[in-house]
Symmetry: D2
Subunit: 94 residues, 4 copies
């Protein structure tokens, strides 16, 4: 993502607030794929084609902006997720 | 909105969680209009046509789903906003 | 909202992208009130106290930031909503 | 995430629409950390403690719900992201 952005000279657009709005936009597109699905059938419907590919594309967009934001602010996203899972395990004992 | 929904037999789609995802979708579309604008120029750029009309349309979509959600859960949105402004005025004294 | 903001000297914070992130934050708080409710019971549960008051407060926050954003970019929100309803009525004939 | 959810008997809560609202909630919390930061200083401010740790925690929450949603609907998120990066590289030639 860092190389992709640099090669296109897009770094000047990638301040944190802009990336967060882009992330919000992609979450919105993902939400639109699910909004009118019946809650009980949503898992099955989203797991079948052609919806599954579209869902995967929007989820990828969310992930890519999240990874880009992490890079810009210097967060190690994988490490943060591991730590959060440990905190969650302590907070909510099985 | 209530009549519009009833005339199209869309009431069965308008449970709160679905409306909230639709609201999220519209906020996402609004965010996409602003995401790459330079922060310092965003107000002026969004105030000029043709962007202003598009911004107005997306803001209208957010408002319409918010009003519809309020109707579905029985919230008086105008009254809730008045009360919240009073609470804000107490919380943040000028 | 305009007076409230001016009296607190908060106008410098209220550029469109910041207001949009604040709107996203409030939509997120509203979503959190509904996220784990069973879809079929969400309307009834959110219509009962104490949840209804909390839902009203979060919906008010969304509305207030939306109104503030409209003011900042010069959108007549009520007029935009009326026009959007007319467009919707043409697009989706009953 | 799958084991964590199963051990707490939370699978019944993790339908796609509920997970999407939870994701929206976490994106909202992340947005709240940035909303009033000056755009030009946001990167530096968010890269310093104590904000960086809080940003990392909220980003982790977004990632964890995204990963959980991917598991529920059967999307290979890493593969989807790789494919999306290839599509982006074709769409936006450097």
């Amino acid at each position: 993502m860092r190389a992709f952005t640099a090669e296109r000279d897009w770094e000047r657009f990638h301040d944190p607030k802009s990336l967060l709005l882009a992330l919000t936009g992609e979450v919105g597109e993902l939400a639109e794929l699910f909004q009118w699905l019946p809650a009980d059938d949503a898992r099955e419907l989203a797991g079948d084609e052609p919806l599954r590919t579209r869902v995967g594309e929007e989820m990828a967009d969310v992930l890519l902006y999240l990874v880009r934001l992490a890079d810009v602010v210097g967060v190690d996203l994988a490490e943060a997720a591991r730590r959060k899972m440990e905190l969650n395990a302590e907070k909510h004992r099985a």
